[in-house]
Amino acid sequence: MRVSETVRIIGKMKESKDTYTLEFKWDVPAVPGQFVMVWAPGVDEVPMSLSRVGKIKAITVKGVGEASNAIHGMQVGGYVRLRGPYGNGFDIKKGRKVLAVAGGVGAAALMPAIKETGCDTIIGARSAGEIVLDDVARKYSKNVWISTDDGSRGFHGNAVQLAKEKMSEKDYDLIIGCGPEVMLYYLHKACKENGVDCQLSLERLMKCGAGVCGCCMIDDKRVCKDGPVFSSEELDLLSDFGTRKRDECGRIVELR
């Protein structure tokens, strides 16, 4: 198993003022919801969900700091070293009627599952300029709904509120979600209240990505290997979910 490869960037697309998609030909098996470790030489290495999982793969990166901005600096024709794909991914054969709920760049992790299932999609963000990948979702989903906190586009409110509405309107079997942990926390709650199953993709600090170092623990689960996608029942048992994470030293950091 060769799990790291240096690949050439064959496409770069601007998704919003601070988000870019990079594409590469990289013919390794991957399933929706998996992620890779992306090296920004001299800077850092960070986990990024695969926003495409076929023979051509992609990552969609929001510029928030050193590493992500270094990745934004990469150009078509240049090389990038990837490790992975890692993690379990979504178990989407289970659900028949699926709704994908994304917060911000969390949409990246959901795109391959949306493509595979053609499910309905909600993408939420603070304001219109931060909505990404809705154009891609629209190619595969019958319904793509947008929510913005400031009401600058689509539903005025957050993605969870919108998801609640849709859950009561339509008969979903499964919600898949990715976004900020507070959002996912309330999404999980909403799903339970509506009796709908869910699978949510979480984030933690990652170093090895391969289930070895133990830095990404959420309770006794490794987000990199046992996750990043956790089922509703698993989430029920995770006392850290929505409440605590660990910093680089392994110290507890309260989320709220």
Binding site: P41, D44, R81, C208, V212, G214, M217, R246, G250
Partner: protein, 301 residues
Amino acid sequence: MGRLEIAFGRLRLERPGMVASGIMDETGDSMVRMIRSGAGAVVTKSIGLAPRPGHKNPTFTEVEGGYVNAMGLPNPGIDLFAEEMAVAIRAGPVIGSVFGSNAKEFAELAAKMEDYGASAVELNLSCPHAEGYGAEIGSDPKNVRSIVSAVSSSVDVPVWAKLTPNTSSISELGRAAEDGGAEAVVAINTLKAIVISAELRKPVLSNRFGGLSGPAIKPVGIRAVYDLRGALSIPVVGVGGISDWRDAAEYILAGASAFQVGSAVGTKGPKVFGDINRGLEMFMSDHGYGSIAEMVGVARE
């Protein structure tokens, strides 16, 4: 007494396999999971005096036959680690691994581990990628002896010395540990290594240097154990590339009284302990071994 039970020095474990230091053992919950998965004990992540973030990513990469890592000894510091220990020791025996830059620091850390309820302390004299720590001090037999002896005289629990294979004679390091009062030596830590990306023209790890672990180093680890068993009278704990019962049996036959599993927790998951336990029991009954102790060092005869 179960067939897999072992007792050496003052320690008694129901199963001979432990989680190696640095592998899913930085938090209380993860340590509990490892013990529940079949580990006889868990060796904690190596803990120092102060919180330490470790090296910047990349800290890890796969290579053919294993991993190369330079985590850089990230840890929350010995004081905060009290909480993790409190959770872990309720599930089973915990060996406290510590690293320091001198004998005094090691002794202070070991004493705290003892207070927290550690069944033994393991001195990391062998990490190959943290400046001023690990192998940088553990490659000199004089240092090994003085550190082990300082710790031995300040704690009551057994003191183990984890040795580096990056030396021309690991037996010499082992003898220094024994002379200093170690109740066991642990071998091996990772091999000094470096990974370069041809296209990106750079060492991959932020620290440049790292340590090689996994199946690739198994024959090197087995040789270290074989040599140490011949040179010492204290028990040897074998570690390096163990990923199934056969690997474990080979280490034991070479002279290991117990063993640790690191990288295979990544490749096979925590269930690797249960699998090894079942396989070892079958092997033992097939070959007429009544206890692990009967197997220790048989290949040396």
